[in-house]
Symmetry: C2
Subunit: 369 residues, 2 copies
C-alpha cells in the first residue's frame, strides 16, 4: 500500500460510543472538499463512498494518481456541479485513506492497530461523519448522496439526523443487507483470512501482507459489480494476446487477465483489514431491524426530499430492494422520487458514464436547489 | 482427502490424442453402475457428472458416506428407474475419484502427477468415456444425460458420436462457456493458487495441501449454485446460535456458517489440482466455435431425440443459454423438446428435489423407451 501523505484530516475530539459498546475518541477523520461553501452555507453536499472508495471523489486521486471514483458525476459543470455546490467526502472510519482504522498507528504502542480495531457499523460511520457539519459550521446540508454502501449511509444519516439535510439520494443500495450479499462479503473475508500472510490481522508490522488473499477478494467482488450481459459483450470469450488456447493456467481469456489486473491494482491502494471491517459493517446493516421491522419508522419525522435510483442490471442491489425503500418512504408520507435506469453495466453503473443516470441526478439537484 | 479404495476402474489401453496435442495411454477410468444391463443391451444410460461430482450417482457414496449427487433422480422406481435402466457413470479424467488425473501416482516416479497432468477439455473427457461402450459391449446407449458440466458432455457426446445414443438430456448447461462463468472459475483457480501450500501443484507429496484456497473456491462456487431469492428465504439474516450480533469476524450469520461448512467439507473429498483442471475444461468448452460459429452443424447428422431442461432461477446457466441449444437443434431439424422449470433453488435445482423436474425426466425417458 502507498503511504498516506498529503491527506487532509481533522481530529474528532469527542468521545463516540460505537454500536459494539466500545468508545473511540481523539481520532482522525480524513476528508476532501470540492467547490466552495457559499456564504449562506446552503450549498453543501455530503457524499458517502462505497466499500472500496475513499474521500477523493473527483479530480486525480493523489494516492493512486487515477481519477476519483465519481469523476463522471462530480465536477465543474457536471451533474453535481462544483461551480455551484460544495461537495464534502470523508474516508469512513475503518478505512485506510487517513481516517481512523486498523492501519492507524497506535500512539502508545507505535504499532498498527490491526484487528484490535473495534468492529464498526454503518451507523458508527455516519455518526462520526456527522461531525463534518460542525467542522464546516453547516447547519443543514443541501444533500446527502451515495451509491452502494454510500447509499446505506445516506439512509442511516437521514434516519439519525432528519433535519440536517434538505435532500437525499440513496443510489443502488438496500435497507437491509441480503443473505447473498452477506455470503459474497464473507467469501472476500475468508479469502483474506486464508492468506498465510494475514496472521490474524497483524501483518502491517511484518514484511509481507495478505496481498494474494485481498486480490482474490477483489476479483470476487469485481465480478459482482458487473452484469452477465455486460461481461459477455465486453469480454465474451476473447483471448488475451494469443491466437488460440494455451492449454495452461495462464490468463488465456481477456476476462481472466482483466480480473487479475483488478486484483493486483487493488492491493496497491487498499488495506486487507479495512476490507474485513468495512464488509462487516455492510453485513450488519439492517435499518429494517433497527426500526423493529417497520422501515417507514426510520423516516417518519423526515421532511427530506428523496430521490432513489436503481439500475436494471444491478443484481447485487436490485431494483426490488431499492423499491422497498421507496415503499417505506411512501408509507411514511415522505416526498420521494424514484427511477430505474436502463443499463447493462451492472452495479457499477453508478460509477460509470451512464447518461440517463448523470442527467437524472443533475435534474434532481438543480430542481430542488 | 480420503484415500481412494474400493473404486471400480478399468484401464484404457488405447492411446488417446488430447486437444492439447499430447497423448495419454494405459490409464485408469473409474466408473460405477446401477441397475442391470438387459440382454438386448438397449437400456443403458450414460450419466455425466458436474464439476464437483463423481461416479457415485446414487446410493451411498463409499468415499464420502453421503448420498450420491443424483439420488433424488436415479434409483429403483425413481425418475431414472434403475429397475428398468442400466445407469453408468465414470469419474471424468482430471478428476480425483480414481480416474486418471493430477492426483494419480506416476508409476515411474512414484509421485503424484500434479500439474504435469495435461490440460484437458470436455471433448477429451467424452472421448475417453466413449470407451465405456466397448467395455460394456453396448452398441447404442438409450440415453446420455447430465447437468451443468454434465450437460456440456452430453452435447459433446452427441456431436462426436451421433449414432451412439437414442436420446439425450442436457440439463442446465450451455454450448459455450460465458465470460461470467469463466470469471467465476478463474476466481476459484486464483483462490487455490494463492494458497501458499499449493506450491505450483506439487503439494500431494508434501505434508500440507491448499485446503484454505480450495475451501474459498468452493464457497465462491456454492454461492453461484443458489439463487438470491433462495438464499434469502433459506437464510435471510438469521443468526448462528446467538441472540445478537457478536461484533467480530466469527460466523455471526447462518449463511456464513453454512458456507464455511461447505468449504471445509469439500476439501475432505476433492483435490485442488482437479479443481483447476476441471474448471479449465469448462472454460475451454465452446461447441459453437468448434463448429465454426454454427452450433446446428454439431447436430446436423443426428437422429438423437433431445430433451433440454433449464430452471428459472439458474443465473449461472440461464434459460437463455439453454434456449440457444434448442434453437440450434431446431435449425438442424433435430427432434427436440424443451422445458423451463419454475424453481427458486438456482443452478442446484438439477440436484435437488424439484418435483416438476423429476417428473419431466421420468416422462421423457419412459415415453421414448
Amino acid at each position: 500500500m502507498n503511504k498516506i501523505h498529503k491527506v487532509k484530516t481533522f481530529i474528532i475530539e469527542k468521545t463516540i460510543k460505537l454500536d459494539c459498546g466500545k468508545t473511540i475518541s481523539n481520532f482522525p477523520l480524513a476528508y476532501e472538499t470540492y467547490g466552495t461553501l457559499n456564504k449562506k452555507k446552503d450549498n453543501a453536499i455530503l457524499a458517502f463512498h462505497a466499500l472500496s472508495g475513499d474521500q477523493f471523489v473527483t479530480d486525480i486521486n493523489p494516492i493512486t494518481n487515477k481519477s476519483g471514483w465519481w469523476s463522471y458525476l462530480v465536477g465543474p459543470n457536471k451533474a453535481v456541479d462544483t461551480n455551484k455546490f460544495f461537495v464534502i467526502c470523508a474516508n469512513v472510519i475503518g478505512g485506510c485513506m487517513g481516517s481512523y482504522g486498523p492501519s492507524t498507528v497506535d500512539s502508545k504502542t507505535k504499532k498498527n492497530i490491526g484487528t484490535d480495531f473495534p468492529v464498526i457499523t454503518i451507523n458508527d460511520m455516519v455518526n462520526v461523519q456527522y461531525n463534518l457539519l460542525d467542522f464546516f459550521k453547516i447547519d443543514q446540508l443541501y444533500s446527502v448522496m451515495g451509491g452502494s454502501m454510500g447509499g446505506m449511509q445516506v439512509l442511516q444519516f437521514v434516519a439519525n439526523f432528519p433535519n440536517k439535510t434538505k435532500t437525499a439520494l440513496p443510489i443502488a443500495c438496500t435497507a437491509s443487507h441480503s443473505a447473498q450479499n452477506i455470503a459474497l462479503n464473507e467469501l472476500g473475508r475468508q479469502a483474506i483470512m486464508a492468506d498465510a500472510n494475514w496472521k490474524k490481522g497483524d501483518y502491517l508490522n511484518n514484511e509481507n501482507s495478505p496481498d494474494k488473499g485481498l486480490s482474490v477478494a477483489r476479483m470476487a467482488a469485481h465480478i459482482t459489480y458487473l452484469s452477465k450481459k455486460g461481461l459477455q459483450e465486453k469480454f465474451g470469450r476473447k483471448l488475451q494476446k494469443r491466437e488460440d488456447l494455451n492449454f495452461s493456467f495462464d490468463a488465456d481469456f481477456q476476462i481472466e487477465s482483466y480480473l487479475r489486473h483488478q486484483g493486483s491494482a487493488f492491493v496497491d491502494r487498499f488495506d486487507a483489514n479495512s476490507y474485513l471491517y468495512i464488509t462487516r459493517a455492510m453485513d450488519y446493516f439492517d435499518l429494517v431491524k433497527e426500526y423493529n421491522g417497520n422501515l417507514s419508522d426510520a423516516f417518519k419525522s423526515s421532511k427530506v426530499k428523496f430521490f432513489i435510483i436503481s439500475f436494471t442490471s444491478d443484481w447485487l442491489y436490485p431494483t426490488s430492494e431499492n423499491k422497498e425503500i421507496v415503499i417505506a418512504l411512501n408509507a411514511a408520507g415522505a416526498d420521494v422520487g424514484f427511477i430505474e435506469i436502463e443499463s447493462d453495466k451492472g452495479h457499477d453503473s453508478f460509477l460509470l458514464e451512464v447518461p440517463e443516470f448523470l442527467k437524472s441526478v443533475k435534474n434532481f439537484l438543480e430542481a430542488n436547489y
